[in-house]
Amino acid sequence: MLSLQTMATGLTIGGYGEITYNDPDSGVSEIDVQRLVMLFAYKFDDRVSFITEIEFEHVKEVYVEQAFLNYGVSDNFNLRGGLMLVPMGIVNEYHEPTTYNGVERPSLNNKLVPTTWREMGLGVYGRINSASIRYQAYIMNGFISYNDGAYKLKGTNGLRSGRQKGAESVGSNANFAARVDYYGLPGLKLGLSLYNGKTQTTDKSVVGSQVGLSMLGFDARYVKNRFSSRFEYINASLSDTDKYNLASGKDLGSKMSGYYIEGSYNLLPLTARQKLDVFLRYEDFDTHAEVAGNLTKNESFHRKETTFGFSYHLADGAVFKMDWQSKGTAVPESESKGQFNMGIGVFF
């Protein structure tokens, strides 16, 4: 009886990009095509699709940001495999410039959750409409801590330099990543993320070449009329960092934790096509929340940052941003550093 139009199959092209201008109080300013990412999605049929994102960073560096095959087994159960985003916190998954405030992503999402954090993996994904829940669970490859004599992880940015990004990656230990989103209350979305496992090494016999990692994330987003807010909390516990630091001479912390909280208000009426969000964000995070062995805490790794600015959404998917940042640390009597940022972001 029903005869809907033929469903579109085949290729979809999309992408996102950000062009940024950073002007710190001290030092030279930078103008950069920070990211330009082309999305290609190919739908083989209604159940099977392949999604990939090719990224150009700073114009000249090429990466594959995502490349996975999705198989929809049923309405609420999908299988997924390939190079995927690790579902930790808000911004790692939703990192397109129109989806967050600020020219730069929150600093927590650089040093604590190393966005864009992606690894090879395999797992399940789905939604339960009756319970307003989205779930994800993957077996994934992890950060590399030791690669043929080179130690990758360090105190200032924790795990960031250990990302393998699916490039000839070393896989010595499987890791587990999972996330649940709940959106059953109007305007509110809650998320709980878990990541558990061990870092990768090219030689397991080297003492201190691996550390254990257990990361927990809790986040909340609330939108009501012209007001919106978000909160993200991350706690990462690392084991055997004393052995790792001893072997490497690095200063990796044994616990990294922190949060940010942000509120924004749309100055334009809800019926307008455009949106002008003014926002204020406060971040407090520490990549040396705890240290093990002989390591002394470096207070400069405890950051306290405030960002104030606006996001002018010219259309859905096109934004002009401007903000001012004050970046301080817990070092006694240290002075905060200021920075002015401006940027253009698109998502299509």
């Binding site: 009886m1 029903l2 809907l4 959106y183 059953g184 979305k189 939108v223």
Partner: protein, 184 residues
Amino acid sequence: MELHRKINWSFVLLYFVVLLCSSFSNHENILYKNILKKVKKEISKVFVLEDFELSPIQIQPNEELIADFSGNRLLEISSNDTKLGYAYIGTAPSKTETFEYLVLFDNQFVIKKAKVLLYRESWGGEIGSKRWLKQFLSKGTDYKFIYRQNISAISGATISVKSMTNAVNELLSSLNFLIQNKII
């Protein structure tokens, strides 16, 4: 021996490929059947009925109609010659795909149920939430839904939320036109 094994394996593989291909050959038909099955199940639940008839309502194309009424999308629900209500099966865009949704109306074209029948894209599927879709209930054809005002936002699903809101608004105003002009 080794070669034999390889040949055997390739036959097994070929068999599976053929099986897979044949299972997908009639894919579109199966898809519509599944959608219709879901529609019937929903009508059963909402109108608390085991037996009912669905008859398509043909609407002539008209420039004033924003909603799509082709392909038997608007159906009259009746039981034992008593008209009970209407069902509309729509297609709306998500970010890079389309999704199918169902709106059930009573006799007076007041919304009794809104449901996402088939959502294809990985992102934005949160609009399938029963709780979120409840916001459309009990409204008539003269009502207008406004995103973030009387329809709450879902973070991470903005495009699909707006699309569904828009689709229901277009459906209501089109139905309103049809009623005003005594076409239905």
